[in-house]
């Protein structure tokens, strides 16, 4: 825990800190500068102050980190299968654990889970904790949080990793709040310090900025990670064990009653294909999306869009790449008229080959593209489709 304090004896009210603050958190109130509730603790005011009157004050009460050991991965089992983000979480979890000589554990909650616990062992976890009960068949935030509380109390893990799925994003804040500890959402990079502090990097403040976040005085350290961000764990000869845990009535008591389940029709998800062609605001009319679709089909892939196009109602958010949509990691992604805001870039910049087409040579998408084409998508895309089609005809 820390806070930013202004030493009023040193402060000469020069006001330099006020415009520096991106959040308008510095205010002059009479003869003092005050920091208001908009402060995000970016510390830019500390750097800006010529009088060195602003400082960060750390308080000393911290948990005993020695008592919190191990990396616990939530293995999301839902509707008969493990969510694939689980194997990616085990991948990063094992890496973190090996750096500080800890063990990796998995928690699986549900009913009739078949071979899933054994499957987890194949990815190299030291122990799988199983909570199997008919009352845990469907996800409810309250019962699953109770189970989490039980295992955290028993295991005392240093790090807890949860997938940024519909379930994970509902469950993780509930559990981290119960333990009065920190939770960092949608981490794109995770490393660990020798003192077991988890270094969490994520896009932040809604701008083109990355933030490095730590939870240095509390345990466990909760982080959520989106699907397709981390590398999948390699398979090993299983060496871990499975422990089946008791589910008591208090744990499985819920006020939430699932009345019915409606299956969505199976559609090809943009997260599961090798090639994506993305339409951004450079696509002028809804009808022009057909151009993007055609290129996607000719490359055997799917088309996707950016947030503004979903907001215009051109397509639904299952095709949206971005923090409020999906994260993708295809082998090839071609962006057409996409500017490349961080909320978009953070959710596709791990793609193997990024091609960007944009008329604006200063568009931020060119910072992350492997191949940038400065030009008009309305000229390039039709020409490219022609060439691919011509190639097919020639082959026949």
């Amino acid at each position: 825990m820390a806070s930013i304090k202004i030493d009023n004896n040193k402060c000469n009210l020069c006001g330099e800190c006020i415009p520096v603050c991106p959040f308008e958190a510095m205010e002059q109130a009479g003869n003092v500068i005050e920091i208001n509730a908009a402060c995000k603790m970016c510390k830019l005011c500390i750097k800006a102050c010529p009088q060195r009157a602003i400082e960060i004050v750390h308080s000393e009460n911290s948990v005993n980190k020695e008592l919190w050991q191990g990396v616990l991965v939530y293995a999301q089992f839902f509707e008969g299968k493990l969510h694939p983000v689980t194997f990616e979480l085990i991948g990063i979890g094992r890496k973190l654990a090996s750096e500080v000589n800890m063990k990796t554990y998995a928690l699986i909650i549900g009913h009739d889970m078949g071979n899933a616990p054994q499957e987890l062992l194949e990815y190299g976890v030291n122990k799988v904790f199983v909570y199997d009960d008919a009352k845990l068949d469907r996800f409810c935030a309250d019962t699953y949080a109770n189970v989490f509380e039980d295992i955290i109390g028993e295991l005392k893990p240093s790090v807890v990793l949860v997938g940024s799925t519909s379930i994970g994003r509902s469950l993780a804040p509930r559990v981290s709040t119960r333990f009065k500890t920190g939770l960092t959402a949608d981490c794109t990079t995770l490393t660990i310090k020798p003192n077991t502090d988890l270094v969490q990097i994520r896009p932040a403040f809604g701008g083109n900025i990355m933030a490095q976040i730590v939870t240095s005085k509390h345990r466990p350290q909760f982080a959520t990670v989106r699907y397709k961000v981390m590398d999948c764990a390699s398979k090993v000869r299983p060496f871990g064990t499975v422990e089946v845990r008791q589910v008591d009535d208090d744990m499985s008591y819920t006020k939430i009653e699932v009345l019915s389940v409606i299956q969505k029709s199976a559609v090809t998800s943009i997260t599961d294909v090798d090639v994506l062609v993305v339409a951004g605001q450079g696509v002028k009319e809804k009808e022009d999306l057909s151009l993007i679709k055609e290129l996607a089909i000719s490359l055997g892939g799917e088309y996707a869009v950016t947030r503004p196009l979903v907001e215009k109602g051109w397509t639904d958010y299952t095709r949206q790449i971005g923090l409020s949509g999906r994260t993708v990691k295809p082998k090839l992604i071609i962006t057409c008229g996409v500017s490349g805001a961080i909320q978009f870039a953070a959710c596709m910049n791990f793609s193997e080959c990024i091609v960007a087409i944009n008329t604006d040579k200063d568009a931020s998408i060119f910072k992350i593209a492997h191949y940038g084409i400065i030009g008009d998508l309305y000229e390039i895309v039709p020409s490219l489709i022609e060439k691919i089609k011509g190639d097919r005809e020639y082959a026949v």
């Binding site: 509730a37 939870t215 080959c353 940038g372 020409s383």
Partner: protein, 262 residues
């Protein structure tokens, strides 16, 4: 019935850049607006208010300027508004924010339902709603795309899971976070504007909350700390083709062929 809608003021633009020399954030716009996702939460509350006669309170935490979004909520039809405002709330992370908001909800008292937007456009975490529910020890359901029924004893909602929709029932008090497009948010009305011109906004400070221990709020009460902020690494290993001088489509076609995509 009493409904509280949690809303937040966010920057009007998401275009923030960092000076690579000094590491200072460059602000390119100072306008602020209501988090767009909160409009859906507010609309949900107003519709339920019309159906059940529930009293709708808009609640926000922020600097004094955040009163603007309470006024906006009034113009849409909210019955009253609360601004949680204290310099000691500065720098709150998810835990501290949700704790302060849950404290305010307790002060408001007798609340049956709390409605949140899906997420904010500046934080994009979607965590504060479930965290409020945990502080208050009440059940919550996220990603609500449809209200099926709202009776005296509880609500039935349809929630959007990855591969399915679930219809679930929950008793009051409870919290839901709603999806975009659950309803179409109404526009602020001039009639309401005139009607609510002089309507008070309740301002709560730390002194009004039950727990007045400063260490539980703001930076002091936030377990997460931002160590540093930086610009994303540009990709150094890249090729740029300018169509003013080369045939971009031909070069791209050659690339796709060489990489075996065609």
């Amino acid at each position: 019935m009493k409904i509280v809608v949690c809303i937040k003021q966010v920057p009007g633009t998401m275009l923030v850049d960092i000076d690579p020399e000094t590491g200072v954030l460059k602000r390119s716009g100072i306008s602020a607006k209501m988090n767009p996702y909160d409009l859906y939460a507010l609309e949900t509350a107003l519709i339920l208010g019309q159906q059940t006669g529930a009293h709708v309170t808009a609640l926000t935490m922020g600097p004094p300027q955040a009163q603007a979004i309470i006024k906006e909520a009034y113009m849409m039809g909210a019955d009253d508004g609360v601004l949680l405002c204290d310099t000691r709330f500065a720098g709150s992370d998810v835990l501290a924010t949700s704790y302060a908001l849950s404290g305010a909800i307790s002060v408001i008292g007798g609340v049956d339902m709390i409605i949140c937007g899906k997420q904010t456009t500046d934080g994009d975490t979607a965590q504060v709603g479930p965290a409020i529910a945990e502080h208050l020890k009440i059940p919550h359901v996220t990603w609500v795309k449809k209200i099926e029924d709202c009776s005296d004893s509880g609500i039935v909602v349809e929630q959007n899971m990855e591969d399915s929709f679930e219809v679930v029932r929950m008793p009051y008090p409870c919290l839901i976070s709603v999806e975009k497009d659950i309803y179409t948010p109404r526009l602020p009305s001039y009639l309401n504007y005139k009607k609510t011109l002089n309507r008070e906004i309740t301002v709560l400070t730390l002194a009004d909350l039950l727990d007045q221990d400063e260490d539980n709020y703001g930076l002091a009460g936030s377990p997460t700390q931002v160590e540093r902020v930086f610009s994303p690494q540009p990709n150094d290993d890249q090729t740029i083709w300018d169509c003013a001088s080369v045939d971009g489509a031909a070069l791209l076609y050659d690339l796709l062929t060489a990489e075996k995509f065609v």
